[in-house]
Amino acid sequence: MPTLEDLRPLIIDLLLLSAALLVFAVDLGLPHGRKRGLGFLTALLLAGLFAVTFFVDVDGPAFSGAYLGTPWVMLFKRVALAAGALAALGAVDHVDRHFPNRQGEFYLLLLFSLMGMTLLPGARDLILFVVCFELMGLPLAMMAAYAKADDKTRVHRHAAEAGLKLYLVSAASTAITLFGLSFVYGLSGTTSLSGIAQAPMTPLLAVGMMLTLAGMAFKVGAVPFHLWVPDTYTGAPTPFVAFLSVGPKATGFAALAAVILVAFKGNQAQLGALVLLFVVASIVVGNLMALPQRDVKRMLAFSGVAQIGYMMMGLLTGTQLGLGMLLFYVAGYVVTNMGAFLVLEAIAPDRTGVTLDDLNGLWKRSPWLGLAMLLFVLSLAGIPFVVGFWAKLYVFMAVYEAGQGWLVLFGALMAIVSLWYYLQIARAVYMGEVKAGPVAVRPALAAAIGLCLFGVVAMGAWPAPFVESATAAASSFLGPR
């Protein structure tokens, strides 16, 4: 029988729920055209929640093992909350400008999606797992299409296209996942991840696992399930893309880790080969296809695909070091990518498409924005003294430790290929001729970018504490071996 004690590990999520309700209530209270505050409120609540995570203890199982709280889970919660807070803060102006009277719902969707993200890493029961997955995913599809109908800037057309593409592909892969899970359940007789690990292996069970993984791979956007990514990123409103590009990915990795390393524990070898395939394909396709892009959002989308490949390396090792560094990578990636997209938003607040030419001469039009963009792309490329460098490096170390030096070489070389297009951005920012006038950045957006920048620089200058906690979390996830 569930008791109140079962709620303790879920305290963060409950607070998040209440935050959502609060936002809902305030939204109802506020008159039309005065809803700007909602964004700040959401950001504030999420930030507060983020702070709270450092003071509560959420370890331990709940609801007869359907949910399990660990430091690992907690770190993913933090990442999600940070992403949400930054996204909310960064979206304030956009939302207020483009759909002033539908702000509340926007933030509600954001919060609900976040709830899915905070719950998912802890889910240890297939049913809960699936439901959280959906709770995370559905609002995203809606937010993608959540835009103002202004035919001049074609936001609406593209947003709708982006939303529907995301939705249809995700619906298909959800069906696939469920189908796979149905087999998994049926052949293991249980829905608890740890229970599944005990089931005898049969072809049908393997097929079920594979179908499940296919669905997960879609969520993180690994090749060949990435096709929706660039289109959606290009078409959807930028602040949302900033969130979409980091939040679900982080959580998706939590899910992948849970499935691969807990539920399907017995089949490391076979699954490892598969993941390796994902890694290589994602890195190659993502980097190569980013090369010719002129639309920066699209370029970053492909680069994101490649980055997924690098993160998967950590998953591939399955070692404590590997998972810890995956976590570190994810955390760094959140601030970096979020920041990059927010800069794009700051440059072209009225458009979904931002080309390299829009970045021309940014160093002059807004020096700090230029510097921020430079640091973000450097971090994405993995250049020293920004977080991206340590992230890639540590993942490489983990991979080498796991005995796959060639993969390190491959990864490093592809990272250099990626430098080509990242430097295209730097090139535009610092060498493009100045045509337009200064960029005026609204305070909220500036604050969000500033926070991302701080994160990138701080984690780059002093990575030690993050590394420590990440490895600790990883060991808590793997448990005693």
Partner: protein, 202 residues
């Protein structure tokens, strides 16, 4: 013996109607065939002693989903909506191959899997079902409720046609419609758009 016959009938009906769902040229027919499929599925549930589920299936699906989708068809209904656009048959071939591949893969796995029980286990009572919801799966249940809530909320917000006080929204809703109206060869209209805004040439 009877069970076999019943299963055979259900199976035939199910597959038949489903195949119509995916092949019917007229959208309304598609939806109606879908309804039939779902209904037949309910029958299959009954064959599997899942009466409660069968009921849910009839009420929720065949009621709710069907209505919804009909609404959808009507709302997005267009003159040429009923006239299917000329379709490259290659697509059907490809689709067929894919579907066959899927089936072959699944069937192969199923047949290669030993020890699939052939005899039913004791049936489940609805009470057990209900209590399961409120005990071990209560958390998932709550989350599910949130999910439904957010789905409804989002759907409403998105689908709301007019949004008081938001300039541009109203024509935004109408304008493109008018622009895109006479589309015998829709590509002709779609292509330049694509050319204008596709993701950037190197």
């Amino acid at each position: 013996m009877l069970a076999q016959v019943a299963f055979g009938i259900v199976a035939l009906a199910l597959l038949g109607s489903a195949s119509r769902v995916v092949t019917a040229r007229n959208l309304v027919h598609t939806v109606l065939w879908l309804g039939l499929t779902l209904a037949v599925t309910a029958v299959a549930y009954i064959l599997l002693n899942a009466n409660f589920l069968a009921a849910i299936q009839i009420i929720l699906y065949t009621g709710g989903v069907l209505t919804l989708m009909l609404f959808g068809v009507m709302l997005t209904h267009r003159d040429e909506g009923f006239v299917a656009v000329q379709n490259p048959s290659g697509r059907f071939v490809a689709g067929g191959i894919l579907a066959l591949a899927v089936f072959a893969m699944l069937a192969g796995a199923i047949l290669r899997t030993p020890s699939l029980p052939a005899t039913p286990a004791p049936p489940v009572t609805t009470e057990a079902l209900g209590s399961a919801f409120l005990t071990e799966h209560v958390l998932a249940f709550e989350v599910l409720s949130l999910l439904l809530l957010v789905a409804a909320l989002g759907a409403i917000v998105l689908a709301r046609r007019k949004d008081a006080g938001e300039e541009g929204e109203s024509q935004g809703a109408v304008l493109p419609e008018r622009k895109a109206l006479p589309t015998r060869q829709p590509k002709a209209e779609a292509l330049p758009v694509a050319a204008r805004t596709s993701g950037g040439e190197a």
